[in-house]
């Protein structure tokens, strides 16, 4: 490792007016809704009162069904191929929705979708994961390291209509488990 380490810069809230800067046409469509295997991934972002957060942004990044990260350019200028990356702003009720494919795994680990959550009032982005029910999720080492609530908060719910639902609770007893990848000993948020 190098002997000099630079200090990472602080985050700041995405604010209320991010839509025109970060949301581009079809940014919530990782694949066409008509594509084979296309599913709806949706949920509601709620605050500490249980109210929907109408100005949140959910960003996802995931492998395709083959478990491989899409390596092609074209996350903004879409050509119909699977992107792997998407952004969805919440609606006035706090609801977000993506069209995507189920993530797969290439290494035997339980597949998941990486998530970053942003909102007015949220001073830095929060990371979490969306695991897919089934697919060996119960045998995953990270999932097994969590308590029952934490585990449940990271596994999407398979709805009767074939969609996956993943609600994001920012605060309180039912809070979603948010992740830190910072090295131990560093203190980003106090």
């Amino acid at each position: 490792m190098p002997d000099t380490t630079l200090t990472p810069y602080p985050g700041q809230t995405v604010g209320p007016f991010f839509h025109f800067g970060l949301v581009y046409p079809d940014s919530h469509l990782l694949v066409s809704p008509e594509a084979p295997g296309a599913i709806t991934l949706h949920g509601t972002v709620t605050d500490g009162n249980g109210d929907g957060v109408p100005d949140a942004l959910v960003e996802i990044w995931q492998p395709g069904p083959d478990g491989q990260a899409p390596a092609d350019q074209g996350h903004i200028a879409r050509d119909g191929s699977f992107s792997g990356f998407g952004r969805a702003a919440t609606d006035p009720d706090g609801h977000y929705e993506f069209t995507t494919l189920r993530p797969g795994s290439a290494d035997g680990q339980a597949p998941f979708i990486a998530v970053a959550v942003y909102a007015r009032g949220l001073l830095d982005r929060l990371f979490t994961r969306i695991y897919v029910p089934g697919d060996g999720v119960d045998n995953d080492a990270f999932i097994q390291s969590l308590d029952a609530h934490e585990r449940a908060s990271l596994i999407a719910v398979a709805e009767a209509d074939g969609s996956l639902r993943f609600d994001i609770v920012l605060q309180g007893e039912k809070q979603t488990t948010f992740l830190s990848f910072d090295p131990p000993g560093t203190d980003r948020h106090g």
């Binding site: 490792m1 602080p10 996350h75 001073l123």
Partner: protein
């Protein structure tokens, strides 16, 4: 139908009427508490406090449970790949996106994006958005009665070069009022969204301008309790970036989290040949 609270339109129940003096006092208390902890030997906090009550909107939107440490896996160890086909070169110049010239002070903002190990972030997407020179956003929910500039949208995108450099030409944004408390004003800022080489390095932040008199009053900027950490978000005036009879220049480098991959010596050396 729920309401749509924004920085500009707060629902009446939470319409804060605190004065700036009260908010400033809360900021001072929070910082005093932080400085006591530092004096007692805790390491500096490099980011904002997610729970920062002077920023009223954070009250119900910060996690109350500790973040769970995780080792990044799979997709988290790589980043989406953006490229030339995703953006047009004109997107790096926010002053030429309309038929006429926008009003305001033309500026060039230039800097280098590296990770905590000093490796340049190459060929990666940088996105910005901002208010116009009068402090007005092109957004339907921005009700600030300042003029919209028909020649300025305030959105830019570019890709870093092989050494991690980015550059935007834009208009210096104005400060604007918001409804956190009575007579609340945000310092002028440009929102930045940056990707690294892995998803764990994702950063959304704000760049500020040197010498802004609103810094001590702003609960968003002051949500970063560490003075040195706050100053990292302030660009510096750079006369070498200033262009003769055209635009003033600002330099703002960005450091992302370290990546979790092995450091190769050539990554560092390449960057230092810039």
């Amino acid at each position: 139908m729920s309401t749509e609270p924004t920085e500009q339109t707060v629902d009446p129940a939470s319409a804060a009427r605190e004065t700036q003096a009260e908010i400033s006092s809360e900021i001072a208390s929070a910082h005093a508490l932080y400085n006591e902890k530092i004096a007692a030997g805790r390491p500096p906090q490099q980011g904002p406090s997610l729970n920062f009550p002077p920023y009223r909107s954070s009250l119900l939107r910060h996690p109350t449970k500790d973040l769970r440490h995780a080792d990044p896996e799979g997709i988290e160890l790589v980043s989406p790949v953006f490229g030339e086909r995703d953006i047009s070169p004109v997107e790096a110049d926010l002053t030429v996106q309309h038929n006429g010239e926008p009003i305001g002070e033309r500026i060039v903002v230039r800097g280098r994006i590296v990770d905590a190990d000093g490796r340049p972030v190459r060929d990666q997407l940088v996105e910005i958005w901002q208010a116009n020179s009068a402090g007005r956003y092109i957004h339907k929910r921005d009700q600030h009665p300042a003029p919209i500039d028909p020649n300025f949208t305030g959105v830019g995108r570019t890709l870093t070069d092989k050494d991690g450099w980015y550059e935007f030409t834009t208009i210096k944004p104005g400060p604007y009022p918001w409804r956190n408390h009575l007579n609340a004003w945000r310092p002028a800022h440009i929102h930045f969204s940056v990707f690294g080489t892995e998803f764990t390095q994702r950063l959304v932040t704000q760049m500020y301008f040197p010498g802004d008199p609103l810094f001590p009053l702003d609960p968003i900027y002051q949500s970063i309790p560490d003075a040195a950490a706050r100053e990292r978000l302030i660009a510096r005036y750079d006369h070498d970036i200033t262009q003769h009879e055209w635009a003033t220049g600002y330099r703002w480098d960005i450091v992302l989290n370290g990546s979790h991959r092995t450091v190769f010596e050539h990554d560092r050396e390449d960057g230092e040949h810039a």
